[in-house]
């Protein structure tokens, strides 16, 4: 009875799989050849990436005056994109760490790709503050070192410096967590590789993993402790990102609800991105047996919950702003002024994409449908981009002094850098999908007997 699992739980691995089948299925995309679709999408992403590099080079060479920023709106797409990408990253850690602590077995089919997404997304996020410095060659001034003119140190009272520490801790810890989990899977690829070059590469990547009993014991303990550390870490990261706004005195930014609201929004957008990627990947890489309807439905449920939290935050912000009776609050990003002002389209994009459409997921038929889930994920990705755009641009466009009220117009450089990071993200993810074991096969093997379709059926028929 060691592998007993309640019959009411749907199998997480469908089809009659054996341990060896799992190895074959996970190794197949690595050992096979890329098809036309992969090359098509890869070249498209690469083009966008190169365009982005051009736009970044132009920005660095000329200065950030090439962006659409003006006197009043001095933060815009760059910080929008930064927060958007960091937020997307949060889902990977939530899946790999929080769900591990809660012993959710369904995380095993998707945690590898979700964490890969986290790392690639945080990487994009990190680019924006660096570019926004204008003089990127002075980027190391954010490190706690005295500057060369004396012994002036970095300012540890500043939320922007907290960001430096939070994001770099988050990125490096995520990489280490991800890589440690990858070792047994690289070892599996290494031991079955027939081409000498492939064998060499995977031998190097697998760090000589052999799977001794003691190593597994430590491996599991390390995973558990890393999950315990990564859980508060991921909450702290978006909390600190929200401090960038919440500690200021700009109407609409100066809000104590920001930290929990940002974290919920981050998980919301991150799960949408995981859906976007995995619904395609399960088809393209023939992983339908491991990323099932159950996985998609569970992720949709998380989207519903976090989307609900976000919606409640919107409503309370709107209400409290109005109830305060302060005239400044009439023009914040959640106010009558925003809903009817020149940025009405951004306001309603936020409400519709994040608040209204996701409610359709309450219907079981829709949240178990792949096409609907995919479209919904895209809508949420767009909606969450608008959330950050609204927070930053709408609030800055309507300041304390009406004579300074203005609009923001992105230049081709703003757009180019954003598209460039989208391209870069997909370049990394597509390369990952062809060279890395995209499902944590060792972990999946450990739940095969409890959650595998054939094993469950056999046990239940007894």
């Amino acid at each position: 009875m060691a592998h007993y699992e309640a019959p009411i739980r749907e199998p997480l691995i469908v089809g009659d799989k054996t341990y060896h089948d799992i190895s074959n299925d996970i190794a197949a995309p690595i050992e096979g050849k890329a098809n036309k679709w992969w090359w098509g999408v890869f070249l498209l992403a690469l083009t966008a990436f190169l365009w982005g590099i051009g736009a970044i080079a132009y920005t660095i060479g000329t200065g950030i005056g090439v962006w659409g920023l003006n006197n009043k709106i001095n933060w815009a797409w760059d910080i929008t994109n930064f927060v958007w990408w960091v937020g997307i990253g949060h889902a990977g850690t939530l899946i790999s760490a929080v769900l591990l602590l809660f012993r959710q077995k369904w995380r095993m089919g998707i945690n590898r790709s979700a964490e890969a997404m986290t790392i690639f997304a945080v990487f994009q996020a990190g680019l924006f503050p660096v570019i926004h410095m204008g003089r990127v060659w002075n980027g190391y001034w954010t490190m706690p070192i005295p500057n060369q003119f004396g012994s002036l140190w970095t300012n540890f009272n500043s939320p922007l410096l907290w960001d430096v520490f939070a994001i770099s801790t988050y990125l490096t810890v995520s990489v280490v967590f991800w890589y440690t989990g990858l070792l047994p899977d690289f070892a599996m690829i290494r031991d079955r590789a027939t081409k000498p070059f492939q064998k060499k590469i995977y031998s190097l990547l697998s760090f000589g993993w052999t799977g001794r009993a003691k190593d597994w014991q430590r491996f599991e303990e390390v995973s558990l402790v890393l999950a315990g550390l990564a859980t508060p870490l991921v909450l702290s990261v978006h909390t600190i990102v929200s401090f960038d706004f919440a500690t200021s005195v700009i109407p609409g930014w100066h809000s104590t609800v920001y930290p929990p609201y940002f974290v919920a929004g981050a998980v919301f957008s991150g799960f949408a991105m995981v859906q976007t990627l995995l619904i395609v990947m399960r088809k393209v890489s023939n992983l339908e047996a491991y990323i099932t309807r159950v996985h998609i439905e569970n992720m949709n449920k998380v989207i519903l919950v976090t989307g609900g939290i976000v919606m409640v935050a919107y409503l309370s912000e709107f209400f409290v702003g109005w109830y305060s009776g302060s005239s400044y609050e009439d023009f914040t990003y959640l106010s009558i002024g925003a809903a009817t002002g020149p940025y009405w389209w951004a306001f309603w994009a936020l409400i519709l994409c994040n608040g209204v459409f996701p409610q359709l997921l309450w219907i079981k038929k829709l949240r178990t449908n792949y096409t609907v889930s995919f479209i919904m994920a895209i809508i949420i990705n767009i909606g969450m981009w608008f959330e950050r755009f609204d927070i930053i641009v709408i609030n800055l466009s309507r300041g304390h002094l009406p004579s300074t009220w203005t609009m923001f117009e992105p230049t081709f450089v703003d757009i180019g850098i954003f598209m460039g990071t989208v391209g870069f993200f997909f370049v990394l993810f597509l390369l990952y999908a062809r060279t890395f074991p995209v499902v944590a096969q060792a972990e999946v093997k450990s739940i095969l007997k409890s959650s595998g379709d054939n094993f469950k059926r056999e046990r239940d028929n007894k």
Partner: protein, 174 residues
């Protein structure tokens, strides 16, 4: 003392777990077991003690916290105190709320990275380490038990086969 060991290969984790118990009951020493995934209860059955790596993580975390406090106290209070936004930096305790985020981040940073480095060093894994699993199938779907030969090797071989091993091989170990 003979340098010979038997490599017994199993193809099921439950059979392996039962075999480990039987082999130990028959007073044979199990040198090592290689498995493709973590088999729960295996280390207990083999008599391997618990790991103390979580304790090291706690100590590394304390180190990180201490380092953060020392660093910010030195930079913000002792070496170059500044009046930032009307909030003078005269004592660490009074300014502490602003330092909490970085105290937390460095605790996590130290605990995570040093624990993983400890894990890699203790388990002797790392870049350029050559894998030493005796059979490549042990990362796929087979489980390998290494038992040193004492006494009659034929007898031991048939005993291991009886516990469910699908293959046994006598190997000279150097």
């Amino acid at each position: 003392m003979s340098d010979k060991v038997i490599h017994a290969i199993y193809d099921d984790d439950d059979v392996l777990l039962k075999a480990v118990k039987e082999v130990r009951e028959a007073d044979h020493h199990i040198e090592e077991v290689y498995t493709p995934f973590p088999v729960h209860g295996l280390e207990k059955a083999m008599g391997i003690g618990g790991t103390r790596i979580a304790i090291t993580a706690f100590l590394y975390g304390l180190t990180g916290l201490g380092f953060a406090v020392w660093m910010m106290n030195f930079m913000m209070i002792e070496d170059w105190p500044q009046n930032i936004g009307g909030k003078p930096s005269f004592s660490y305790a009074e300014n502490m709320p602003a330092f909490v985020p970085i105290m937390f981040e460095l605790t996590v940073f130290f605990a995570s990275h040093l624990m993983v480095i400890t894990f890699y060093m203790r388990s002797k894994i790392g870049p350029f380490v050559k894998a030493s699993n005796p059979d490549p199938r042990t990362t796929d779907d087979k489980f390998l038990m290494e038992v040193p030969v004492t006494g009659d090797e034929k007898e031991l071989e048939s005993f291991l086969t009886k516990t469910g091993a699908i293959e046994t091989k006598i190997v000279e170990k150097h």
